[in-house]
Symmetry: D2
Subunit: 292 residues, 4 copies
């Protein structure tokens, strides 16, 4: 692979920082109370695409926690292609996420969409998420770069890996060193899947960067039946975490039901993921080791 | 072509609003003092990619005005793929644009990148521009939807036409009816051009929408030698305006010099554009009719 | 633009052969009996996607000839994505094309799909066509390179311009110097059009190569309502010919009816094309000059 | 996922043929002398991109056989983007492949590029390969459909999954039921990898089709350092075989050296692949089970 850009390597480059960056977040459900992302353990982040109601969120959180997820995902601010679509519960959704955190000891990841919301989202979330449409929203990147919270940066829908790393550089250069990259599929001509998840980006990022890299097989495929195989593929390719949409009743989901696992499907996936993780010498944090 | 989305047509649809939307902006350099965009006349917007200095801007503005451009383009806030690239002069750049407007009677178009800047940019600009990276920055679209200034919405780098119209709908549904669409090239596998300018989007938009549609052959190709033929192609395909980068010394431009026309190249382009416009029964606003 | 490949330029390069290549074909309908392609004149090639019957072909040929088309297109061997689709009349279709040539004095262009058919197709056709799916069918390119008939090489569905020129090089290096390139759209993520016609490829090819370049707005867009504006766009961008699908009853066409012009639409297009051609100092061969 | 095409399912569809198709080939190196592809066992196909010399081929064959590869790959007819590139040894290359088969008891897979070569290639090969550029070379598909040899059909560079299955249908409808699909990456805008390997295509094909599906991580990535992680990812996603380029001295390879594993890299990959295969309840044919 060619060196990244110009002569001076980026802050995200392994040439600048050879050791893996390990991000830590508080998670009472884990022994020691802190969860590491980017080290040996693999983390499962799961939950609904969007926070819809207290019942929906609590039911999902309890179920995914019981199977081994340690981070709860759920959108309170939802980017919607149409202005007439569901745009999320806003701060009320953040409050529900905080309630779930307290109830189940999980860490919380949720999206922030605009600079003026960064402070409020930081009041509730353990990890901020910058979505695919905002990968090059530079005012947002600058604002998230100024806080000291871990931030997941999703790859833009049609971003090259170089552009993605340069977007991460916006945050790193503002002083936020806890940047986590997330492969979520790129846009191609293929029509049977929602996106084409670029699994090769995972080991490639690992080689050229020290930042943790995670995978979103739900957005990456758009079909719940493809989430399990692409989760396993992401793991063996080197992903540090999986970000998986789970819904107690996907047919009634307000957003992205087609790509949400049922709770039962999620229950089946975790031991498969654990077995595959162990085959490559890793383990899923918070899940008992399988008896192979 | 299939109907756009669902059963209820969008505010941008010709089914809702059969007549062409015509946007008007003040322009002292035009007889009557107001410039129409989206009617019979074709408008030329020209100027540097980025405002770099008073000398650079004034020199360019004077030259493009002399050839028939009636709207001056120039970025004060510049999206830069790298955080270490030139990001524009900010408000100082806006002040220079206002000075050029006063000096040459041209209207001003300039980019706004984040909601909190909308009010300030409105103080100086006649037309706001939302760039390709921000096509789905919904907080920005909402904010621009709330003001009553014309706004050019560039197509996202990998946006479908449907997504682009839905982004316009964010502004239309907030009450800003003066939305102008701008084709600026999409991302493909081709490496010899910066983007692939989708000329077919121009007549397609004309058929399904009443909004004005303009073309940016500079961003669309990335090569100054391709700007003239793609300008002519855009016109005969139905574009209501051309947005063209011109720089007095492209080799020394701080941004996008490779795709900027020299003043001499721009001088040669305008009469060709006028001849071609007349061949399809239109004329370029502010340019004397050619003797064919 | 960067130089093409390596240090030694290709046979297709303007560095090797600075003057435009002009291809000539016999056409009794033209004064002098020979038609030039790649010179000042612009040529219109029109006809049905597929030869379906004698009546359909003769009716179309007569109509397009009457409006100024000098080359008749029509497929006897049709590539079909599905094996169960219409695959053409084969040699019977070639005989019908020859009959139309005799009746109307037009030159004939038709596709050849496999090396063993090259000799037979040469017996009937004036210009061979290599389709998009066969752009890198090297045995076919070698075979067509060995004959001395003009050959149109369509750009592959996802071919870069460099790969396209290298495919042309297969024929040129075998001694066939009468290669004509045809832009017919590339595959992108856009769903409203069948392909995205890359108009910028036309002037780019003109700059780096001496070969004639033509445009196929029917395949390039997939919608008959977009064929006229994209025909005009192709002309002002520098195309040497237009390849247009016309059908007497598109709704009943066995292939690609949605992108075929009606005879009436074709009748309206030609004078527009002539007016636009004149605006850039060219003229359509075989069509009376318009009174502007 | 939507049903594939129209109302009548394809011959490749699981609705027509619910059970997995299992292809068998003679392989003396395996107990029983026959190798199954598409059943429980996973097959490793390895060897050089192109057959260059007897020494190169024999050395590679011996090494990959020793590690567990049971099928030897090697191109005698090589598609080359440039006519001036290496195009393979032709029949001399086929003879070397046959010699390696005899020496090591492996089955042979090699590419056929044109219908008139099908008979000759069948004389030497156990499995025919149709390359990405020929996925829609219908005369070739028809010819391979008429023989009774297993055939690997690589996905076209920009083919949708639907088009790929329709290309397979050409062979199936001619009576050749031993069709094997091969994902080898698709063309996207990403520049750091040669192609973007679409891992999601593997489980998707498994769901909608009964045909075996294999993966080519060498072509799919273009970088030898990415071959191992993408091999593992392909396996856990459901691939029935891996097709891997191995060269004794990649720096001196006549073709595609950058993506060829060294023999040592291949030696390291096989036990990892075996461990991962076992984690999902499969095993690599011809490799001793690992002690986990």
């Amino acid at each position: 692979m060619k060196p990244l850009v110009g002569d001076s390597p980026l802050l995200s480059s392994r040439r600048v920082h050879p050791a893996d960056t390990v991000v830590t977040v508080p998670a009472a459900c884990i022994a020691g109370g802190r969860l590491s992302l980017g080290g040996e353990g693999i983390v499962i982040m799961a939950g609904p695409c969007a926070v819809e109601s207290e019942k929906q969120l609590m039911l999902t959180a309890e179920a995914v926690r019981a199977q081994g997820a340690t981070i709860l995902r759920g959108g309170a601010f939802k980017p919607s292609t149409s202005p007439y679509g569901f745009r999320g519960l806003g701060e009320a959704g953040l409050k529900l996420l905080a309630k779930a955190r307290d109830a189940f000891g999980m860490a919380i990841i949720t999206e922030v969409m605009t600079p003026t919301d960064v402070e409020m989202v930081c009041d509730y979330a353990d990890i901020l998420q910058i979505g695919t449409r905002n990968m090059q929203n530079y005012a947002l990147l600058d604002a998230v770069g100024k806080v000291r919270k871990p931030a997941v940066l999703k790859r833009g829908m049609a971003a090259t890996i170089e552009e993605w790393l340069l977007a991460a550089e916006y945050m790193l250069s503002q002083g936020n060193s806890q940047v986590i990259l997330c492969e979520r599929g790129i846009r191609t001509f293929e029509k049977m899947t929602r996106n084409t998840i670029d699994i090769s980006a995972i080991p490639l990022i690992k080689r050229i960067s020290h930042l943790p890299i995670i995978s979103d097989p739900s957005q990456g495929t758009g079909h719940r039946d493809l989430v399990a195989p692409l989760s396993l593929a992401s793991l063996v390719a080197g992903a540090d975490a999986l970000l998986i949409e789970v819904h107690p009743d996907p047919e009634k989901a307000l957003k992205d039901g087609a790509q949400s696992l049922t709770i039962e499907q999620f229950r089946q996936l975790v031991p498969q993921a654990q077995a595959v993780a162990q085959a490559i010498g890793r383990t899923i944090t918070g899940v008992h080791r399988s008896m192979s």
